[in-house]
Every structure is written in C-alpha cells, then in structure tokens.
Symmetry: C2
Subunit: 327 residues, 2 copies
C-alpha cells in the first residue's frame, strides 16, 4: 500500500472547549470556535504494510513511548475498520515547533494523522468525515482539519456524527495575528481530559459554563463577520478566564498558570489600556497567547520581550486546511 504524508496546523480556541459529554466517543459538552495557526504544524506520514501486526510511531525522529503509540493505534483502528484492512502501520510524525516548548501537539498531530492515514488506507473521505474521525483522537484535532476560523459544533446525536468542525471563514477573510509567549517547558500538572473530568465532577460552576457557551460562540461569530477586533478580543478573554475560573473552582483547584503567565496577562491588559489591540487567551497550560492585528506584531513583540523569563515568542498568522503533501 502507498505511503501518504499530510500536514496540519495547530489551532487555538478563542471560545473555549472544556468538558466532555461522552468520553468514549470524545464528544464535547460545549461547542468551540478557533483560529488555525500557520506557524505551528505537524507533518505525518503513514504507511500500512501487509504482514505487519503492530503499529510503530516515531515523533521527531525518535520512537514514541508506549502510551502514545497505543493511543495512535487505537485511533488507526477506526481507519482500519472503515477501510476493511488489518495491516499495521509505520507512522512518522514531525512537529515544526520545538518539542518541549509546552505547546500541545495533539490537535495538529491527530489532524495530520487522520488525513494521512485515511488516504494511505485508500479511503476518500470528506473534510467533515475527517473532522469527525480526528475528534476521536483529540477533541481539538477536529478543528485543525480546516484553516482560518473554525467552529466546532456541539452536536446532538448520540453517535457523535454531528459533533464536527465546520469552516467559518478562510484565513484571507481577516488576517489576524497571534503571539505565543512560551513561559515554561515544564509538563502541565494535570492533563486536559483529567482536568475536564475533575471539573465536571466537582465544580459548582460547570452547569453555567455549559449553558452560556452558545452565547459566546454567537458573539464571536458576529465579531469575525464584522472584523471587529475589540468584540472578538473581549469575548475571547471572557471565554478564556471563564474556563480558567471554572478549572480553579474544581476541588481541588486546577491552576494551569505560573507566575509569569499572570505577569503577562496584566501586561497585555495594561498595553491594551494604552490603545494597543491585544487580547489574552490561554489553554490548559501556562503559555500566554495574544490575539492582535498584524500591524501591531512587531511593536507588541518588542514590548513583551522586555519582560524577564519568557523562553520564546512565536508570532503567527492564520493557517490553511490540513492537506496531503506531494511525494
């Protein structure tokens, strides 16, 4: 069988995903809205080989550990089932962003794996079906199938077939920029899935979090249509801090921030008060992402790099769809 290589970009949710309504199918409890990030991508090649009984996975040129390999294998079983094959696969995955930069690679990783594996298995799937499959590898991977601005639909069906990402606007609609400030390369104290489960089980705020998410998505959608950075930035910060406030209200409290994260949050808000369009968003980790307009990237980078302790600043514009690379 042929070897296929695919590339997918990372993405960041502006209206956040936190909570699952079904663990087995990895169905979200809330929808989300993201932008795809050009500067961060994963390139993955997959080759199914007759007679191979196991899957092998290398990440950035090294053999992946047992846990990651098992997770990829379980995911490939979905593809094998669809394709009616039973061969093991050789998977080679490379992230273009520094390993250990504290950036989650599961979104771009599972999106690239889905596109490469489906093609390598001889399947000709729609982007929607690719998105539905990706979701079962990693919730945020469903969004990385598409470029530009993407909405992950909550869906209603028990089988998850309507829990899919849909493209809202391509990158060209509104060229936004994002700065990614790496504050730490340490592993996070509690992973997203575990954090989501603890939150759902113990936080008194969880029902209100789930109930108010659709309003945030509607506002973000309007802001993107109108290319209104203030409106999009404000709803993004609201959703971000609502998510982190939610995690903090779990018992025991989940705090993904470090000291530098908070220093940067205050600094971005201070610069905004001075007229620079800059808005914070953060995922389940200590890195601080700053939504801004392209014409402010240089100035913001200069101002923020004065703060001690930042390991690295990555600046990015919006990226495109996940795609198969030519041989």
């Amino acid at each position: 069988m042929k070897k296929t290589t695919a590339l997918a970009h990372a993405n960041i949710a502006l209206v956040k995903y936190w909570g699952k309504r079904d663990s087995r199918l990895n169905l979200p409890a809330v929808g989300s809205l993201s932008m795809t990030l050009k500067a961060l991508s994963t390139t993955t090649s997959v080759e199914f080989q007759e007679g191979l009984s196991i899957d092998t996975l290398s990440i950035n040129g090294s053999d992946a550990g047992e846990k990651q390999t098992r997770r990829a294998s379980a995911f490939l079983d979905l593809i094998r089932k669809d394709a009616g094959i039973q061969h093991g696969a050789i998977i080679e995955s490379v992230n273009n962003f520094p390993t250990g930069a504290g950036l989650a690679s599961s979104a771009s990783g599972f999106a690239a794996l889905t596109v490469a594996a489906a093609n390598a298995a001889g399947l000709d799937l729609s982007p929607t079906r690719l998105s539905e499959l990706s979701r079962q590898g990693s919730g945020s991977a469903a969004r990385s199938i598409f470029g530009g601005f993407v909405e992950m639909k909550l869906g209603e069906k028990a089988d998850g077939s309507d829990s899919i990402a849909v493209p809202l606007h391509p990158a060209e609609h509104w060229p936004l920029a994002m700065l990614i400030l790496i504050t730490s390369e340490a592993e996070k104290p509690i992973g997203s899935t575990e954090g989501m489960n603890l939150t759902a089980e113990t936080s008194p705020y969880y029902p209100a979090w789930v109930d108010t998410s659709p309003d945030d998505i509607a506002i973000a959608r309007e802001a993107i249509v109108a290319r209104d950075i203030e409106k999009l930035g404000e709803i993004s910060e609201f959703s971000c801090f609502k998510m982190h406030g939610l995690a903090m209200s779990a018992n025991p409290a989940i705090i993904y921030w470090n000291g530098l994260s908070v220093t940067l949050i205050h600094e971005v808000r201070r610069l905004r008060a001075q007229g620079i369009p800059a808005y914070v968003t953060m995922d389940a980790g200590p890195q601080v992402k700053v939504l801004t307009l392209p014409e402010y990237v240089e100035k913001l980078t200069g101002l923020l790099s004065e703060i001690k302790g930042i390991r690295q600043i990555i600046s990015t514009e919006l990226g495109g769809d996940a795609r198969i690379l030519p041989e």
Copy 2:
C-alpha cells in the same frame, strides 16, 4: 463627653464573603467564616465634642483624605442617631501593621471605630449590636468584633438585624497559625465593593457561588469543632479559589493576583504534597495567606522566604475580641 479608645484585630475569611444582597445596608449575599488575627490590629480613639459641626479623622498620625473621612462620618451618623447626639467627633486611628503593606484595614478599622464611638457616645451595646453596626461600615468588620473563629450569618431579614457575626470558638479552642506573605504594596486595580457588583452583574457563575456557600460553611464549622487541619485547609482553599474563579469569570475578568501570588500558591501546594500542613487563602488582593499549625511556622517561614520578591512575611496566631482600652 469622654474620649474612648478601642482596639480590634483584622480577620481573614476562610469561607469567603463575595457579593451583597443589599447595598444600602451592606447586607452580604453569602455568609462567611473567619479567623481573627492577633498580629494585625487597629487602635482607634473617638471623642464627640459639643459645638463641633464636622468630624475629623487621622490615620497613623496624618489627616485622612476626604473620601475616607466622609465614609467614617456617614458611619458615625448611625451611632449619633442611636445616641441622640449631633456632635462632631475627633477620630484618631492607628494600624499596627505597616501602612501600604497591601493589607486591608477596613475590617479592624471599622470594628475599632464602632466599639470606640459607641462607648464615647454613651451607648452600652451588646457585641451582637456592635457587630451589626460594624457591618454597615465594612462587611468584614462585623467579624472583627469577635476573637477566635467567627461566623458571619447571612441572615434573612430585610432590615439586616440578623446579618451579624457570631463567635464560634475562642482562640484557645484550637491555636492555629497564619503566615501573611506580602507580595506587593500596589493598590488593587478594583476595590471589593465594585468587584462584587461587577461579578453579580456579569458572571454566569454567581448564582452557583451563592447557592453553594452554606455547604462550605457547614464543612468548615465541623472541621473547626474536630480540629481537623486537613479538612479546614481543603475547604478554605476550595472557597478561596471558587471566589477568585468567580471574579475571573466577571466581564471584564477581575484578577487580583500578581505573578508572585501564583508562584507562592504553587509553592505552598508543593510543600503540602511533601507533608507540611499548609493551605492557601487570598482576599481581594495579591497577598498570599497560609493557614498552618503553630509548630510549622518556623519551617514554613524559612522555606517560603527563599522565594524572591516577597516584601515581608508576617506570622500570626488567633486574636481576641475587639475591646475598649483603659485610659
């Protein structure tokens, strides 16, 4: 008329107060549970003088500003009404904790003012009535009338007469200790009252915060009866982070922490994982308070003082009732 001097201690809520159900009478939306802090106190003298038409207020030997003087005056009007007098008063107030240490002095300040002014006006009031009066000066002042462990009752009556603090146990019941880590002397970006109002108006979590508070108080009460530091510490952290998570979910987000606050939160939790009984609590500001047992104060102080940037560490045990000082 005679001059009276009174002393009251600051207190810290372990189960937090956040939100008002009546602004004019300053009635809380939730009850709270606190410990009174021996090391922090305010000493206030009040003398009503016939013929004096205005009140004058000095704090730590300097004339207070117009805003603070007006607030004290409005409060003295309650005392004057009860006593049937109309004289202006000379108020002299001294905090024993460093001014600008970023520690709220309103609790000890209004409690001392209440006790001194009532006595100077010739009123002989019960502690309960003193607590009810204090509350109208500052919500947390109601608790500073009593020593040891104190519960602020939510109350039900529209006139606020049952929104009062009650003493649970004197300091001798369970000698706990607290470390107060001063991280910044900067003024907080948004005061408590304004922050509470913004939270009530904009946070989707506010109803759940109000609804779940009685359970936290019940658990803390049990923990104190049983002298169970783990139980008291865990419910205190839960209430603290639930309050800060609530404030973060306001729109725009209210973040009282600075970078050092978060570094210290993680450090305290790390030390606890190593077996030291230490639990974080924080009010509407960046200072980090650590609940612990007296036998760990020295060790904890040593370990925490290694972290760069802490301005000061104050250690305290539980304090007693607010009281009139002999001439």
